[in-house]
């Protein structure tokens, strides 16, 4: 079933359709926001806010646009607004900024998934994940959202431009610069 068909059912008030939309997008939306704000509790609140806003306004959703673009747009706006309101500088890969105890740090730190690798490969994957997550977190927020939407969510440049209300050329520039900065930051891993 396509997103559009599920949205049509949601508009009829079918709770199962709402659940399916949440099931499909909770991880991508939460991951995008988490990598933007780098605080698990804050990301959880913003992801929840994103879905509540989107699902309460489902009647005003225009089916000619992709649902994914629409929800990512709301999520990105929520994250950017939050970053503008509060400077969140500490890397949550090491725990939330306000985490002081070992338990808090453990609870709020980003967890890179176990993909069933050998202990050594897993260690390397976690190390790699840690380095790349750190590098992403050092990018400017606008670069960060562009690079996440392009390479983690697989959106086309045109979609990102539409979603972020930016000219296509600006989006390309942001992504090229972001990749350039990431390459530089991760250069030591290639040696």
């Amino acid at each position: 079933m396509t997103d559009q068909e599920i949205v049509a059912l949601a508009r009829e008030g079918r709770e199962a359709a709402y659940r399916e939309l949440i099931r499909r997008y909770e991880r991508p939306v939460f991951s995008l926001i988490l990598r933007m704000v780098r605080d698990r509790q804050l990301a959880e609140d913003l992801a929840q806010e994103t879905f509540i806003k989107a699902l309460n306004a489902i009647a005003s959703y225009r089916p000619e646009f992709k649902f994914s673009s629409w929800i990512f747009k709301i999520a990105n706006n929520a994250a950017i607004d939050q970053l503008r309101r509060r400077e969140v500088d500490t890397l949550s890969i090491d725990g939330a900024p306000n985490a002081t105890s070992a338990d808090d740090i453990e609870a709020t730190a980003l967890q890179v998934g176990d993909k069933g690798e050998t202990p050594l490969a897993e260690l390397e994957a976690r190390e790699l994940g840690t380095h790349i997550e750190r590098a992403i977190s050092r990018l400017r927020p606008e670069y960060r959202s562009c690079i996440m939407l392009r390479h983690v969510e697989g959106l086309a440049y045109e979609e990102i431009a539409q979603l972020l209300d930016l000219p296509l050329g600006t989006v390309k520039t942001y992504i090229h610069r972001a990749r350039h900065e990431l390459r530089d930051m991760l250069a030591h891993l290639r040696d």
Partner: protein
């Protein structure tokens, strides 16, 4: 006078485009002069369209490129190091041949392209994170489902209540209190049938006495009014029937007027979704 209706140049254009209005087309059928003009115009246009397309000399493109400086630009571009756009095209596998050639020759760009490929692979392999369990429930508690049924409302309310230990405790307390009171009432009533029955009889007797006392007082007051006797004398069966019919007619008219005032508007055209 007829000349005033001949086809003008703009109408001939419309005729060529097949957009001449019907009344002017019928003019063409009757007016020799306009028909001749239209046919001649059609013929000229057909001849113009049949003119052959002439090809420029073989090196036309090179000559133009040289004049606008593109040949140099293309040559320079082939020598330039990779840009972000080139890397995009390379990752997508759509790099133009001159740039492919440059990549093969340039170790610097090869290193850049390799780093880019590794970076893109790492980015695409980034894991997705899960929110805490119960995320959907927490979202749905705050969402107003359109056309919500009573069952849906009840389920949502129950979901909300069941997650908060305080509300669960309060609900259990209120439920216990209500259930206990009802059970105590039933137990007391079962053991005191005579008291309940005696109280019921006393209330009924006194209520009847009060009712008839009120009726008697109202009748006495009515009879003491100065207009009562003349009104009573004037009441004939015919007048009573006429007053009754008038009251029924007024009631009917009132109901009709009210229905018209309260009628729902007829469904209009569906509003376009914004």
């Amino acid at each position: 006078m007829a000349e005033a209706f001949h086809l003008g140049p703009e109408e001939l254009d419309l005729y060529l485009d097949g957009r001449l209005p019907g009344n002017r087309t019928s003019h063409l059928e009757t007016c020799e002069q306009c028909r001749t003009a239209a046919e001649e115009t059609l013929e000229v246009v057909a001849q113009l369209r049949a003119l052959p397309r002439l090809a420029p000399g073989g090196r036309f493109a090179d000559l133009v490129m040289a004049r606008v400086g593109m040949a140099g630009a293309v040559a320079r571009r082939a020598e330039e190091h990779f840009t972000g756009e080139d890397l995009d095209l390379w990752v997508l596998g759509t790099l133009p041949a001159p740039r492919e050639a440059h990549l093969r020759e340039c170790p610097e760009c090869q290193a850049l392209a390799d780093a880019e490929r590794v970076l893109v692979m790492r980015l695409e392999a980034l894991p997705l994170f899960d929110p805490r369990p119960g995320f959907a429930e927490r979202v749905l508690d705050e969402v107003d489902l359109p056309g919500l049924s009573l069952v849906g409302s009840w389920q949502r309310w129950r979901r909300g209540v069941s997650r908060n230990p305080l509300t669960v405790g309060m609900a259990a307390g209120i439920g216990g209190l209500l259930g206990g009171s009802i059970a105590a009432s039933v137990a007391w009533a079962a053991g005191n049938q005579d008291t309940i029955s005696g109280a019921g009889t006393w209330v009924l007797t006194h209520a009847q006495a009060l009712f008839w006392q009120g009726v008697g007082t109202a009748t006495m007051l009515l009879e003491q009014q100065p207009w009562y006797q003349s009104a009573r004398d004037g009441l004939t069966p015919g007048r009573i029937a006429a007053v009754g019919a008038l009251a029924v007619a007024l009631y009917g008219a009132g109901v009709l007027a009210l229905r018209r005032l309260l009628a729902l508007p007829a469904p209009g055209p569906a509003r376009a979704l914004s």
